[in-house]
Structure formats: C-alpha cells, structure tokens
C-alpha cells in the first residue's frame, strides 16, 4: 500500500465570518500521482492550496502532508513542498540566474546537486539567464518559476492554475513537463479551471462552491456519466437555445463549441425519434444527431445540474 502524500479530513474555512470558502473537504492524494483540483474561479481552489501549503489555517478539520500535521508541523512541511503560485511571483528586477540562486539559498539547497531534476527545463531558459525575470515571456517566466519551485527537490509540488492565460502550445509543453516531474517520484497537485486539462491528471477532484462534488480518475467520471449523450450541429444555435426551453423530453441541453450536446435520461429508442420530431416541428435545421462519449466538462455539467 502506498503512503498518502496528503490526507484531508473535514476541512472548513470561512473568511471574515461571512464567505464560506471551503465546506467539509475530504480527500487523499497518493504518493507519486498527478492530482488535479478542477473547478471554476472562486470555487475554493486557491483557499485549499493556501491551506495545503501551510500559509493559511483551516477553521476546522485535519490535514496531513506525509503524516505531518499542517497546523502544527508547518515548518517541516515547508521543507518538502514546492509551490508555483498562480501569478508570477519571482523578483522581476533580478535576473533569471539571480532568482534561481536566491531561492536555492532560501531552501538551503544546492543548485548543482539538483540540476539533474531541473535540467530539461533549465536548458530552455538558461540562454536568457542574465535577462531580468520581468522581461521574460509568459511561458519563460513559468519555466523559471518551476525551476525555483523544484530547486530543493520537493516531495510534493503544488501548482496553482499554472496554465491560466497561457497559449495552447505552451500549455501542452507544460503538461509534458509535469509528466516528467512525476517520473522523478514527485507528487504533483495542480489546480485548473479548465475541464479539458483534467484528462492529463491521474485523478481529479471536481470542486464547485467550496465543495468537492466528486473525486475519481477522469475516465471513471466519464464511465459514470448517467445520461446518453448526443451531439449535432445546428444552423442557428441561438434559435435552437430558445426552442429547447420547451422540449418535453427529460434531457439536458447545452452548446458545446460549435456543436450542441444533449444528454438524454430516457429510453433512446423512443426518445430519439420524438426529439427529431420536436426539432422539425419548431423549424430547426440541423445535421445528423450522433451519440458521443462525454468529456469531463459534460460530467461536471451533469453533476452540477443534478445536484441543483
């Protein structure tokens, strides 16, 4: 049995007596996995990150990071975690090299010793090592921050929305880097508001309004999808949206990119002809209605819609 890298039991957090940021959070992260915290902005991801990185105390509940208590043993936890915040948080007036040197010393770590770990990333930014960090491009900044967060060879790496505002190519690169970090036996906890990135994780927790609405490997979410999902393309999405409000079938309809997704909770043999008849009756032009495998985003929508 592998050790739990992180174990969270019954964590609650309320800000200034009003806003409930986290409600009864329970989750375990296993050693060596890439764990995704997936949910929209304001769902409580950052609060949970602040608590896990010991920067914030929970109101109640228990958090263990490699069996150390996040409230009491926070100093020991800080030795073994690396943290990449959501916004660029290095010194913009220090050069790339100076930033790395600085954090290496802060972590009482030796750059040479851990070079093997960061080398693949460092190689990409070392040509700019005398450039001030503030003058780097977004992707480069991100890589430098990652080097600084890894320089002490942490056991767990926390990444707070590392791909927000990053273009698709850099995002893909970034996820590839995370894979390689994981191979170094570093547990990775990453948050993202983007459902399409969820499949890159070993397991994900969907989080909404301060609550965890499901923890599973992405594929399990997809397997657990209750509805029968169909997709089709419509000539006029806006007119379709209006018409769908009157649909008599038990279904959940939403646009999905340039397509429309309908999750039916019916016997499809009867429902599908009924649905087509309904569309024709309301003068909708559309292309073939085909079944499709749900994405994590479809799962999120289903879970949230059903819990309401």
């Amino acid at each position: 049995m592998s050790v739990s890298a992180i174990s969270i039991k019954g964590v609650n957090k309320t800000y200034e007596g009003k806003i409930e940021a986290l409600k009864d959070i329970n989750l375990d992260v296993e050693e060596g996995e890439v764990f995704g915290l997936v949910g929209p902005d304001g769902a409580g991801k950052s609060t949970l990150f602040n608590i896990l990185t010991t920067l914030l105390l929970p109101d109640s509940g228990q958090i263990k990071v490699f069996l150390m208590d996040a409230v009491r043993d926070y100093k020991s936890i800080r030795q073994i975690i690396g943290y990449l915040p959501g916004t660029f948080s290095l010194y913009p007036d220090l050069s790339v090299q100076e930033n790395l040197d600085f954090f290496a010393v802060m972590y009482k770590s030796d750059i040479e010793e851990n070079m093997s770990l960061i080398e693949p990333i460092w190689k990409q930014i070392s040509p700019f090592k005398d450039r001030k960090a503030g003058k780097l491009s977004g992707g480069m900044k991100q890589k430098l921050a990652l080097c600084c967060a890894l320089i002490h060879r942490p056991s767990i790496l926390f990444l707070d929305e590392p791909t927000t505002g990053v273009d698709p190519v850099s995002r893909k690169e970034f996820w590839d880097i995370l894979k390689s970090i994981r191979q170094q036996n570093i547990t990775v906890v990453v948050s993202t508001p983007y459902m399409d990135e969820a499949t890159r994780c070993d397991r994900i927790a969907l989080i909404q309004d301060g609550r965890i609405i499901g923890i599973n490997p992405p594929q399990t979410f997809i397997n657990n999808f209750k509805g029968k999902l169909y997709t089709f393309k419509s000539e006029n999405i806006f007119s379709l949206l209006k018409v769908m409000e009157q649909c008599p079938l038990n279904c959940n309809y939403y646009p999905y990119g340039e397509h429309c997704h309908v999750a039916f909770y019916e016997d499809m043999q009867e429902a599908l002809p009924k649905f087509e008849a309904f569309l024709q009756e309301h003068h909708q032009t559309y292309e073939t209605i085909t079944p499709i495998d749900p994405s994590v985003e479809d799962c999120f929508i289903e879970i949230v819609t059903h819990s309401n």
């Binding site: 399409d196 949206l241 990119g257």
Partner: protein
Amino acid sequence: MFSIEANQLTKQFGTFTAVDHISFQVNEGEIFGFLGANGAGKTTAIKMMSGLLLPTSGTAMIAGFDIRTQSKLIKRNIGYMSQKFSLYGDLTVFENMQLFGTIYKIPRKELKDRIMNSLRELDMEKQADTLVDSIPLGWKQKLAFATAILHRPKIVFLDEPTSGVDPIVRREFWKLIYLAASKGVTILVTTHYMDEAEYCNRISIMSEGQIKLIGTPDELKKKMEVNTINDVFVKFVKR
C-alpha cells in the same frame, strides 16, 4: 458592407513588427474568434482596431469608420470587455452601468430604462443595488458584457471574457453573446481557450504578427485533419 475590414494593417515598434500586413473582414452580426499565441500581435491589432493606436501602414474600417481619421467615432461605436478590467467592485451593479452609460452619453431617462431592461434580461433586477464585489464571478462576467453593450455598439471586443468561469455559467454567458449577435452586433473575441474558440462562427489564428489561418472551425479542422480547434492550434504552431 463589412463590420470590420482590415487592409494590410501593419504596426512596427522600432525594428520590431508587431502586426504584419493583416487583412481580414468580419460580417455584421458575426462572432469572430481572434486567436494566437502570447505575443503574436493580437493585443496590438485590437488596439489599432479600437482606435487607441495608429497603424504604421495599411488601414482598417471599423463600423464604416477609418481608424486613421475617425477614431472618436469608432470609440463611440464599439464596446470593450476584458476579464482583467471590467467593473468597479466598490460600486453597485446599477451605479456601474450608470457610470458607463453616462460616459457614452446615453440620455439620463433612457439610460435608466436600458439598465432596467438589461438587468431583466440577465435576471438580475434584484441585484441592482448590490456591490459588484459581492456577486459571483460568473454573474460579474455577464454583467460586464451587458454593460459593454449598453450603448448599443456595432462591434464588441471581448478580451478573454470567460476564462475561469464554470462551464454552466460560461454557457449562459455565450447565450448572451448569441443574443447580441442575433441583434446584429459584431463580436470579436480573443481567447487562449480553444473550447471557447469553437463557439465562434469564424476564427483566425495569428502568429508572428500575421494571420496564418482563417475560416470556420469546421473548415480549419478539416484542413489540418484534426478533431478539435486545440489540435489545430497545436499542429499549426508546431509546424
């Protein structure tokens, strides 16, 4: 007549060419996705199209006005919304809309009616006197969009409007965009998120200051022989 018509639009900063002879047209009521990697020149192009920056060469007609000579008229006829800056958190919903409405010189009496109408569409009438800071992010985004179209612009520029918003609210947001487009408002959206790009009627992908690809999402996917716009983007930039 096109709503946006760029003709060899170019901007150089010293020796660096940020926007390199781009030409494209957007129809009235079209939802146009303006994509590109960081630093591809999107922001510069939008600044020129909204009359904030003069081009080095080339020109563009925005809602029928020349960006070189009629920037004042352009500003009156466009709306702008970005996730970074949209509304004042310490003003109420109503006060925010009133403020922007007044800036665009909407007559006072009419302004109140328009605000109330728009809040009714958003189903936010009860929140009129709530501070913007205390409403959920998704609602803020919808409100910001409603505010950006309060003066009935012909074109709205949306700069990463819904990144980080939950999938359900995001769909509600797009419903508002479709509604506006169905009334003839032209929408130009920038985004890094390709699922958002798929909501657009047509998209363009910029790289190194040039528009390298343009077409409907389906056309581009067929052309690049992939299944998603994300793959289109990745495949295209890798080349």
